[in-house]
Amino acid sequence: MAEDINLLPEVTEKEVKKGVYQRTVNMAAIIALLIVAAILLALFGYQFFLASTAKRIDSQTKSAEQEISNQRSKEITRRALVGKLDVANIFLASSTPYSEAMVKILGVFKKSGMTLVESTFKDAGQISISGEAKSSKNFGKLVDGLTDEKLSDTFDRVRLVSLTGVEKEPYKFTIDLRFLKKGLMEATGSAQKK
């Protein structure tokens, strides 16, 4: 009977606890190792997946490139066509429709009975006109014509630079003005509307 009696229960309990603790630590370590191994495996698997995807994309790219190369002439034609139309568009947009300015100025000169002697048309629509007027009345008509409300969308900054009058000779004058229209397409469009 005495054999079954644990005379050191505290020591046994400590031993048992130690064993449980050791098992727990071992188990935790193995689980941690397994987790790391699983992560590594997953990473290798993912890398394999990426490699196979890259291979597939690579072969699809090569095939697409080949097909594009086969249609190279279409691409060259498109590039040339669009490039030239872009150049044409820039050109048309930046050109000044001087013919319209000329028509308007000559129209005003004709109405006022004046003579054009000299004129310059420069970039940004800067115009300078020099002419001769038989009388101050004619000159007045010219100024009225150039500053008319109807021409307000065509000319602005009408400025008299010089006016000289010598007895028995026509008045000589120089007027600067700015032509407002820009772009050949716009000018033609507005002309067609009118």
């Binding site: 669009v82 000044t96 000299e118």
Partner: protein, 247 residues
């Protein structure tokens, strides 16, 4: 001699080995692997984008009617030529002036970087063409022309209207008008700019996106389609580098 007790180490050999393995695995295997995956992912993203672009381009290419676009290109070539062929241009300008009853008294061409001695054109005694040598002032994508005309104002007005609707495109950027004292006729000095667009082949264009032909391009095409071609003349070329090229 000190007696070292190795029993705790023996007891925890498994966790210690596991810990050591993890410590070694993380920097030596795990981290490089993550880095490789990150790089591969980036590479894949780039490749996917390129493939998507190529597929889009392929779709766009398949929708192109090559015959139609080639026809359009031939027409646009008349308005914006690729080369600096000066002879048809000179003949064209003279035709334009002639139709407006104006006389060409002077013409100076600045054909740009590809200008050579043979580019200098002299058509008549009244027509003088000099190729400019100052490369600094020259623009690769255009020819600048100084044109001197003589006639009356009404005819010049007609000329301006014609030049603004001419193929090839001719842009007047300056005009000087002066009345001649002797015959009361007018002298017109014009600065004209002629745009060019050379066909360029820049390396590998497979991956470059296809330029879109927009309704606006069609509008420009239709607009210049109505223009009149004055330069569609075949000028016979002569030998260069010989004493008399007309023999």
């Amino acid at each position: 001699m000190k007696n070292t007790n190795l029993s705790p180490l023996r007891l925890y050999i498994v966790p210690i080995l596991v810990l050591l393995s993890i410590i070694l695995l993380v920097p030596l295997v795990l981290m490089p692997q993550i880095q490789r995956i990150r790089d591969k992912n980036l590479e894949l993203k780039g490749s996917s984008e390129r493939l998507k672009m190529l597929e889009t381009k392929l779709d766009a290419l398949e929708q192109i009617d090559e015959t139609d676009e080639s026809q359009k290109l031939i027409e646009v070539e008349e308005a914006v030529p690729s080369g600096k062929d000066l002879a048809p241009f000179v003949v064209g300008v003279r035709r334009l002036a002639g139709q407006a009853k104006l006389t060409v008294v002077e013409m100076e061409l600045k054909p740009g970087k590809v200008a050579t001695q043979s580019a200098t054109v002299s058509a008549t005694k009244k027509l003088k063409a000099v190729a400019a040598k100052e490369a600094k002032e020259e623009d690769k994508d255009k020819i600048n022309v100084s044109l001197g005309l003589k006639g009356n104002l009404a005819d010049f007005e007609k000329f301006l209207k014609k030049i603004e609707r001419a193929k090839r495109l001719l842009g007047v950027y300056s005009i000087e008008i002066s009345q001649q004292k002797e015959d009361k006729k007018f002298k017109f000095d014009l600065g004209i700019s002629v745009p060019l667009k050379e066909l360029s082949s820049r390396g590998d264009i497979v991956a470059a996106s296809l330029p879109e032909y927009t309704p606006f391009h069609q509008k420009v095409f239709d607009f210049i389609g109505d223009f009149i071609n004055y330069t569609n003349v075949a000028v016979q070329k002569v030998k260069t580098g010989v004493k008399d090229p007309f023999k």
